[in-house]
Subunit: 401 residues, 2 copies
């Protein structure tokens, strides 16, 4: 299941970025499971990675390589996360970097490895090695759409966004993402690779990545499980010669955030077993942490999520979730709860103006907004989530079998 | 579904406690949904209630009555939680107390009301009132088993425990509980009523209740949702004339804790859709909060819970849950993970001695222990949970329909 249409956009190529795709047989035979992304010399790269302490071997290696050298290649495989693999996992990740580095005549530190898939099994290195030449052999600026396919695991559809802005001096931003389960803020079993031809220094690039991630990938949850492999990578090749400085930064970040938000929301729309795309908006909180914590408590409540799957306007469960959000000195009489702008509860009870029919109607749509007004401050936050269906349980019970 | 046999014990009556059961039609017609528990004059009562800020009307009323007078009657209905009902809910709860008080010739403050069931709908007061005389009419010391039936909602089986200890001067402790979903520490959609004929003062009674609750009802989670109605009530009639003082307190608490733990575990065994009873043990934590937080992160992970439902020893998900438990400066190389005493992971990877067959075998049992050794301190904690099945989703998607 997935929510809404899953059509990919037209991908604008990013000058200085070429993508190659292969089938190494790490997933099922014949499936695309290997992607190599080549970056022109001089490209700048910023990354944000999982905060899970059991972070995967490739995340360790990527962090270390990123700190020591200018990256030239991203090496991505699906089907195996190379996580929970201890010392052997680190050796395997380093070994695959070394193979690609040798074949391309670059330093091993110029390779950033990424893996996604099953946790706790060793990487089938022979397959990975055998698949590499094919992926390298078809490097092309046109490879975005195939790459979007090549990084998927339990996803049911590829995810991409691409845009250009500016008149005389156009900037291109193009990206792909993957993720469907084990999705929770501070990122998840998700990978996102976004490239631009803007010319931007390392400090501004990292600042842009941080801002855009905070409003997008750090605002989504499918199942509250943070994965060991999450990575968001932003590449700037500079090939457009359009300089991003303090003056033009805000516009760039705004455009970048739209790409990021689209990629993040696409993950929720493709959430495992999802039949609804749900925006949880908390308004009038005392501070940002309170707003976010309340929004996540609602978004992660199994009872709220199962009610959503049944299109049941069971607002009592939303109320109960707000009530256990640890809001200090909450005045429950000031709390209002809306479903798609229908006021359903206030003064700790069903709203007088509310009718079950209006609630039912709001619940019929695939895109649903749950809005909670706390009326105690000026902070608003939104997180996005999916519903909890029998299909979610089936997928995750059968994942390894 | 439920885990293990669901047989009730022989209930030892508690001198000074009589129970009456009725069918008011608040649930389905003909189902027992009303229980009146009469306490002999002089009985002492202690209660612990939900921390959900949208706590239900009867919880407000019970707290207030408990503070002002010695209770003589507990009035319990299922089918409607009288939660999310605002001012009207308070009036309804008070009104039902008043009706019972008048019929029994006691002060209204001597009545403690409890409700469980659907949130957000007004109590059908006419049905409740019409059902009261029947329940009062069959008050009996033998009513425990029927009362255990009469307080259920989505539960598939009644829950009770009863024991006697002491030689010449015997003390009886008998209790019942209910709860199946919306179950999370700091209590849940759960009610428990435990009575003893011990003679104990208010201060010691409350201390005993607090200690026994902390190791039982505050160590369970089905779905991380804390309900609006949770209540645990401990009654001491004094009818045995066995005095509980500082000397005999520890033995009393030990016996009481065994009754409480059995009642709490019975809720997990009857968790909505449950096919497994899972003990999550965290050892060697730096402090209690760290041990509990890690245990709950594992116990509430949808991915761990779905793996359990499939009897899949997917230890990577347990590892990932530990990794996102916010343990400061965790040395992942010291962490060991066991399934029923089979060492499955250490040094951030699968254990060398581990075989998939041994993991599969451990997973086959209905009762499973996940044990995580952090090796950084002396604190150990255990929480109990159930697995996440398609049946859980079905039950909660269809609850109101």
């Amino acid at each position: 299941m997935a929510v809404g249409p899953g059509t990919l956009p037209t991908f604008f190529p990013v000058a200085g970025v070429r993508l190659g795709i292969g089938s190494a047989g790490i997933k099922k035979p014949g499936k695309k499971d290997l992607v190599v992304i080549e970056l022109a010399p001089g490209s700048r790269v910023a990354g944000i990675f999982t905060r899970n302490q059991f972070c995967a071997a490739p995340v360790h290696v990527t962090r270390s390589h990123l700190a020591s050298d200018a990256p030239r290649y991203l090496l991505i495989n699906t089907g195996n996360a190379n996580a929970g693999t201890g010392e052997q996992g680190l050796l395997d990740a380093t070994h695959s970097c070394s193979a690609l580095a040798t074949s391309r005549g670059v330093d091993i530190n110029a390779i950033l490895p990424f893996s996604t898939g099953v946790i706790g099994e060793f990487m089938p290195m022979d397959k990975l090695m055998a698949g590499l030449p094919k992926a390298v052999g078809n490097l092309s600026e046109q490879g975005w759409e195939e790459a979007a396919q090549g990084i998927l695991t339990t996803d049911t559809r590829p995810k991409g966004n691409s845009r250009q802005y500016g008149d005389d001096h156009q900037v291109t931003i193009t990206g792909i993402s993957k993720g469907s389960g084990m999705i929770k803020p501070n990122m998840a079993t998700m990978l996102a690779f976004v490239a631009t031809d803007a010319l931007i220094d390392n400090e501004l690039l990292h600042r842009a990545l941080t801002i855009a991630t905070e409003v997008s990938f750090n605002r989504i949850t499918v199942d509250s499980d943070t994965s060991t492999n999450d990575s968001v990578v932003l590449v700037a090749t500079g090939a457009s010669n359009v300089v991003i400085d303090e003056v033009s930064f805000d516009t760039f970040v705004d455009q970048l955030s739209q790409v990021f938000t689209d990629l993040a929301q696409a993950i929720i729309r493709d959430g495992e077993g999802a039949s609804k795309f749900v925006s949880v908006v908390v308004e009038g909180a005392l501070n940002k942490a309170e707003a976010l914590n309340t929004a996540y408590t609602i978004a992660e409540s199994p009872l709220v999520k199962t009610a959503l799957s049944a299109s049941d306007p069971n607002w009592g469960r939303i109320l109960a979730a707000v009530g256990r959000s640890n809001i200090v000195d909450l005045d429950v009489n000031l709390v209002q709860i809306f479903l798609n702008n229908v006021l359903i509860a206030e003064y700790g009870s069903r709203a007088d103006t509310y009718s079950e029919e209006a609630g039912q109607e709001a619940m019929q749509s695939e895109d649903i907004e749950i809005r909670v007004s706390l009326s105690r401050g000026d902070y608003n936050e939104t997180v996005w989530t999916s519903d909890l269906t029998q299909e979610y349980v089936r997928i995750n019970a059968e994942y390894r079998t």
